[in-house]
């Protein structure tokens, strides 16, 4: 099996020769940038640099997938939210939500993915990676509809809208869903093998399962059902209380934060979706030794992950030897 075949088989819960090691979240590190001579923030807005740096995770770190882009602001930026570009070790972030004045909502349009903001950069980067190495699975990241609504409205304002102006809230969520369906399909058409929906603002500590079910689940499920390639859902924090609903969205896999107990997750949804995770990114990958990473990787595998991955984005200061230790553990696990 090559890396792509193994990853897709694992995601579809088919038989594999060994555990797949991938990263559905951001993969770039400062060492990769130095080694490849292409750094943030430039790599966020140049397709060639993005493709090169995304491939570095495989070439230098041994991760058997390629993930684009490196940040979570592409859609909000394309809709007109002001962005901080970030530095070589910090990601772009939202500066001003475009809908701090809600009246502007009525003049927003669904952006054309081949023209708006950095959307065409990501589409082009996918094509470049595919040309360079068709044996690697390409995972394209998009924002969850609830999180995108928070990015363009402001999260606090959005939560208040939920109580104060439910019809506006609903209209906003169906708009962000429409934006993401159009962008998600474009990513698939460009060659993405899987789409990962990242919905941090819908986290269980923030929303709780009742609000999740009422507000964040329906648009996410609609988005997932509108995509053609297998989808993965990542919600930050301890997503255990949400897991069954996350599986109900129709995704092929759930990507789990390190706070989730894999055995519990297997028990709840392991028969329906692939379990992806969940090495602790700050404590183990960033601060730990290669031996710590190896031990935790083997533990994740023993607990039954279908795809071994970090529990969230890789901290940019992470050492390459630690990332390689994760990949090596997946290989070693077969023999043990």
């Amino acid at each position: 099996m090559n890396s792509k075949e193994r990853f897709l088989a694992a995601l579809n819960k088919e038989e594999v020769d060994r555990v797949s090691v991938a990263c559905p979240l951001q993969t770039a590190t400062v060492e990769m940038m130095e080694e490849y001579g292409t750094a943030w923030p430039e790599a966020h807005s140049s397709a060639q640099n993005m493709a090169k740096l995304a491939l570095a995770a495989n070439r230098l770190g041994g991760i058997e997938s390629v993930r684009v882009p490196f940040d979570l602001c592409v859609e909000a930026e394309a809709l007109g939210s002001a962005i901080h570009g970030g530095n070589s070790d910090s990601q772009p972030s939202i500066k001003d939500p475009v809908l701090s004045d809600p009246e502007k909502f009525y003049s927003l349009e669904v952006p054309n993915p081949s023209e708006a903001g950095r959307m065409p950069v990501v589409l082009e980067a996918i094509k470049l990676v595919k040309e360079e190495d068709p044996t690697l699975p390409i995972i394209a990241g998009i924002t969850g509809p609830f999180t995108l609504a928070g990015q363009i409205r402001g999260v606090e304002a959005l939560l208040m809208d939920m109580f104060d102006n439910p019809s506006f809230f609903k209209a906003l969520l169906s708009f962000t869903t429409e934006v993401l369906v159009s962008y998600g399909r474009a990513l698939e058409k460009a060659g993405a093998d899987a789409v990962v929906v990242i919905d941090p603002s819908a986290g269980s500590e923030l929303l709780g399962s009742d609000f999740y079910q009422e507000a964040a689940y329906p648009p996410c499920s609609k988005l997932v059902h509108s995509l053609e390639k297998p989808a993965i859902l990542h919600i930050c924090g301890d997503s255990t209380p949400l897991l069954e609903m996350m599986a109900d969205t129709g995704v092929a896999g759930v990507s789990l934060d390190h706070l989730v107990d894999i055995r519990k997750a297997k028990e709840l949804v392991g028969d329906r979706v692939a379990i992806i995770g969940n090495i602790n990114p700050p404590d183990t990958l960033f601060l730990g030794s290669p031996e710590d990473v190896r031990a935790e990787s083997l533990e994740c595998i023993a607990r039954g992950v279908d795809i071994l991955a970090p529990g969230c984005g890789i901290p940019p200061g992470t050492k390459l030897e630690n990332i390689r230790a994760m990949a090596e553990a997946a290989n070693a696990a077969v023999k043990e």
Partner: protein
């Protein structure tokens, strides 16, 4: 129950259920009936907020509940505050809060600010995306007891180290508390912060302990 206690109880309930209009109405009643405004803030509003944070701890309430409760509370406090007899009110401590440079996620820290305010602390909230020097300038200006730092991203949390380094050089007495999604006790120990708080209610406890430790020195 005296009529004063009845008003406090209604205020508490109005805060817990996030009823802003009712909070305003009750705060006006406190003024009209010449009830002590500070007592109304502490026994009515702050008590309500502490019930909300207990329920949050037990996962019976979530962030949207806290936000409407905080909004309801703030609208009552705004009416009551000008009537507080300043000398009678005890001020437990002075706190600076903010989200570190490169990070704009401020829901968590906003909750901490609301709860600290409700607990009587003087809070200077600097906002989000704050460079290290700004924290130190403010700490000097207010002669503050505690700096509370928040970060939500594995990419931005590294900036906490810079604030701590500067603080150790320039404002030695000031304690540093850190919190936010990716942050842990281990990271707190690693970068030499004085306390780690897992969530907003824990942060209030941690600040109280840090202030007590500082005053004991």
């Amino acid at each position: 129950m005296t009529s004063k206690e009845k008003i406090f109880e209604s205020l508490t309930e109005a805060v817990v259920s996030g009823k802003q209009d009712l909070c305003v109405e009750l705060a006006n009643k406190v003024i009209e009936e010449k009830v002590d405004a500070y007592e109304a803030i502490m026994k009515g509003c702050a008590h309500g907020m502490s019930i909300v944070s207990e329920k949050y701890d037990k996962r019976e309430m979530f962030v949207p509940h806290i936000m409407i409760a905080a909004r309801a509370m703030n609208s009552a406090v705004e009416i009551l505050q000008p009537h507080v007899n300043v000398e009678a009110a005890e001020k437990p401590g002075d706190v600076i809060t903010g989200v570190v440079f490169g990070d704009v996620h401020d829901i968590g820290i906003n909750l901490v600010v609301s709860l600290l305010g409700a607990a009587g602390f003087t809070v200077h909230h600097l906002g989000k995306d704050i460079p290290p020097e700004k924290f130190i300038e403010a700490a000097k200006e207010y002669n503050t007891d505690v700096i509370g730092l928040s970060a939500l991203m594995t990419t931005s949390m590294m900036g906490m180290k810079d604030v701590i380094k500067l603080a150790r050089e320039e404002v030695q007495g000031t304690k540093i508390m850190i919190g936010g999604g990716p942050v842990s006790q281990r990271y707190c120990d690693e970068i030499g912060a004085d306390a780690y708080a897992e969530n907003a209610p824990e942060a209030i406890k941690a600040v109280k302990e840090l202030v007590a430790a500082k005053k004991a020195n």
